[in-house]
Amino acid sequence: MSRRKKIKIIKGGFMKTISNLFHPSSKNNHKPRILHTEAIFYFILIVLASFTLLKTIKFFPGIGQTILGYASNITPEDVILQTNEVRASSGLGGLTLSDELSQAALAKGQDMFADQYWSHTAPDGTEPWSFIEASGYKYKVAGENLARDFMNTSDMVSAWMASPTHKANLMNSKFQEIGIAVIDGKLNGFETTLVVQMFGTPGVKTQVAVAPKTTEKVAVEEVLGDEEVIMEESIPVIEDMVSPMTFRESVLMTPLQLTKAFFLAVIVLVVMTLVYDTFVVGSKKAAHVVNKNIGHLMVFGAVAFMLIFFKGGMVN
């Protein structure tokens, strides 16, 4: 068989496959193969497998750092500015920056990366107040807000404001000072940006600490009464802090962006086929198929909209 004939056969086979996948005809029971139930189940399997693969990329440090990093433009200055803006909008006074609280926030962030946790309380039971006390800050009221994976400050502050317990900290009239740490590092295998926001009011008479709780999502007051606070001698080391720009400059896309892009590609493929099928079958007046397509199109349209506008980031 000549080479030209072989190419012709391959081309013909390829076109038949494409037609079978996308064009409704008697060969695919008048429904594009992509819209067959088995094909939709295959899509589900592919999506699940891809997502699992993405989660395992953390075991390949090279890929993890150069492709799937986290790019955020959050700065401590912006966080303080926007925190004071939301407070001012409710008639509350602005918070002033405390170096000790910032040092405590940094120590907390470093501890989360070192021990790989994302919580107000460390796995060994260390509470946020330990970091504040270790920084030398003597408080009568203190609080902590945490955030991760946000692209910008306004989204992060909006998320805190949308959560009643975090909002309670932001809008607490008892707080006078603030400390912020924005730290890039690796948490559970992925580069991320952690933001630790610590609030406080200097004083020694009564130690009251406030923080949103991880599980119950309610503000909890931990009253220490008149007990004397024991100050730890060790001051958190800050020279190991990872420069925020180290990862931000080398990032190609975030895991969330990659996930969204892939999922949207799946939806676009299904939606385009549904639209094509609707027009082809519609012109043949086969109403029963069109009927189902309209519902599917509405649902996948909504899913695409939600994927596009889905905001990453988590608060704690």
Binding site: T37, I40, F41, F43, I44, V47, L48, F51, A159, A162, S163, K217, L256, T259, K260, F263, V266, I267, V270, T278, G282, A287, H288, V290, N291, K292, I294, G295, H296, M298, V299, F300, A302, V303, F305, M306, L307, F309, F310, K311, G313, M314, V315
Partner: protein, 85 residues
């Protein structure tokens, strides 16, 4: 297509209202991921039941229709659920 929508305007109207409520609710509960996931599962189940009900009403419910709505609801739910993890 237009005639199909007009013919089943009540069913599509109901689906549209549910979709708008779902989308609005999904963004309204942000950043609470647990609530978003509950909404996603609820909507997947709703769409599956909606599909079956509309076909029961028109007496065209077959195993193929059942499987098609199951697969479509699952795909939509899985895509949204995974992105919230």
């Amino acid at each position: 297509m237009k005639s199909e929508i007009l013919k089943h305007k009540l069913a599509y109207g109901f689906l549209l209202v549910a979709l708008i409520s779902f989308v609005f609710g999904f963004f309204a509960v942000w950043p609470n991921r647990a609530y978003q996931q509950i909404l996603i599962v609820s909507f997947s189940i709703f769409y599956f039941v909606w599909g079956l009900m509309t076909h029961v009403k028109s007496r065209r419910l077959t195993q193929q229709v059942f499987m098609e709505y199951l697969a479509t609801s699952l795909l939509a739910g899985v895509l949204l659920f995974l992105v919230t993890l």
